[in-house]
Amino acid sequence: MRQLRMFRAVAFSAFQDGVRQRLFLLFGVFAFTAIYSSVLAGVMAVDQEGRVLADFGLALMELTALVYALFAASSVLIREAETKTIYLVFSRPVPRWAYLGGKLGGTLMTAALMLLVMAAMHLTLLAVRGYGIPACYGWALAGSFLKLSVITSLAFFVSLFSTSAVSTLVISGILWTAGHFVSEVRFLAGQAHGAAALALKTGLWLLPNLQLFNARDAAGAACALGPAAFGAAAAWTLGAFLGALWLLSGKEF
């Protein structure tokens, strides 16, 4: 119970810090501009305007929240070590899981809030253009959040062994991009032979399948994310978290 209260204190503090940061405001402005530009793109799509407005806006929202979450995840531990704030935490009886879990939880809460704020902007712009809430909109947001959860926990893991925030950003960005091509990698692995096949099959084990969370790829009645998607997100997030915790538990400050 006491340790859970410590976890909650770290998470709430990370959330407050995230919301207060100018970075958050900056991304808010960027998101508004990007979503507004999707309206302009939609106008050019003629008879597919509604679909383009919805998909383009959702993609921009996901990318914006992703950039925010990756920036936060890649810099938070480095910043706390540089400012010595971490000394005040780990000289107390705070278990490392509570600290790491709190930071991850706080970052994800901030990213979730960001998604909700951007969704409100997006839906307002759609309403102005005369469109209602697009099909599967809620599931698409849930999918984006699951992707953020997986990639943010992976970024925390990477940040604990990479040499700088930039390298964490780059590695996490590569993982996010490659995670959208898992079915293609699987196809290639089936076609390849020898070392190439082995490398591709190993890659499949190391890559989170982010395509599982693309709700609008299966537009229509089948867009709801199934238990497999939630299970995969939970497994990847937990796996990356445990890996990060293992690295953090041996880390000195």
Binding site: R2, R5, M6, A9, V10, S13, D17, R20, T83, K84, T85, Y87, L88, V89, F90, S91, R92, P93, V94, P95, E252, F253
Partner: protein, 245 residues
């Protein structure tokens, strides 16, 4: 209660810095053995790079010894039982600039395991004790160095520790702030708390401590009691200069 707040037995700490052509190793402290008696004020003197901060971090569980044993009230420093009895003030502590002292203390109080009315009264007591109550409405960004040091001390005091570990507690402070901090530490020691502080200021250590450890290049060069430096011509300064030269 253990008679010693802290004991170091043959402690060595070597830092490893990985590089492209293999790792580089630096030994910060070696063959280090000493005790800090409960309830006493012990000072740690040494030139830059003597290993003072390494010792502070070893006994707060921020670093792990490469060899030897460190015990804090009979526990390993990384044990929650040890940490619950230690308050740590790092050199030049940082607080988020937007936070008011009460907000920062609430956060660190929660991390010390306090909650509810116990937390509220601990925060009030720490602010009162350090004179922060008069600045409760200011943000950390408006604080002088002296006020930040008081806030650092307040966070170290929140959970009523039996041992205070203070890394350069008067570094960069003006004479009035130094006098205030000195008075505060003397009061805390009078309550029976052990204090272990490192400093570059020999005169401050001389005023506050009953015993001083002098570190030279990672080794304990001398342990000096108050009676010894009071009897020595030139006081603690001459003993220190002799030890490091």
């Amino acid at each position: 209660m253990s008679a010693h707040a802290v004991s170091f037995a043959n402690v060595e700490k070597t830092y490893r810095r990985p590089g492209l052509l293999g790792s580089a190793y630096t030994t910060a402290v070696k063959d280090l053995s000493f005790e800090i008696p409960a309830g006493e004020v012990t000072g740690l003197l040494g030139l830059n790079g003597a290993g003072k901060t390494t010792i502070m971090k070893l006994l707060t569980g921020l670093l792990f010894p490469t060899a030897g044993k460190v015990k804090v009230f009979g526990h390993a420093p990384s044990d929650a039982a040890a940490k619950a009895r230690v308050g740590f003030l790092p050199e030049l502590p940082y607080f988020p600039p937007h936070l008011r002292p009460g907000e920062a203390l609430l956060y660190y109080g929660r991390l010390s395991g306090l909650s509810g009315p116990e937390l509220d009264s601990a925060v009030r007591a720490a602010m009162d004790r350090t004179g922060l109550d008069r600045y409760a409405d200011k943000r950390a960004s408006e604080f002088s160095k002296g006020m930040l040091q008081r806030l650092g001390l307040a966070q170290a005091l929140l959970h009523g520790p039996d041992l205070l570990v203070l890394d350069e507690p008067v570094s960069g402070l003006d004479p009035l702030a130094i006098r205030d901090i000195r008075g505060l530490l003397a009061g805390l020691n009078a309550e029976g708390r052990a204090i272990f502080l490192s400093s570059h200021s020999i005169s401050e250590v001389e005023k506050l401590c009953s015993r001083v450890l002098i570190m030279v290049k990672g080794r304990l060069a001398a342990t000096v009691k108050r009676s010894q430096w009071e009897a020595a011509p030139g006081g603690l300064e001459s003993i220190f200069v002799e030890a490091v030269s």
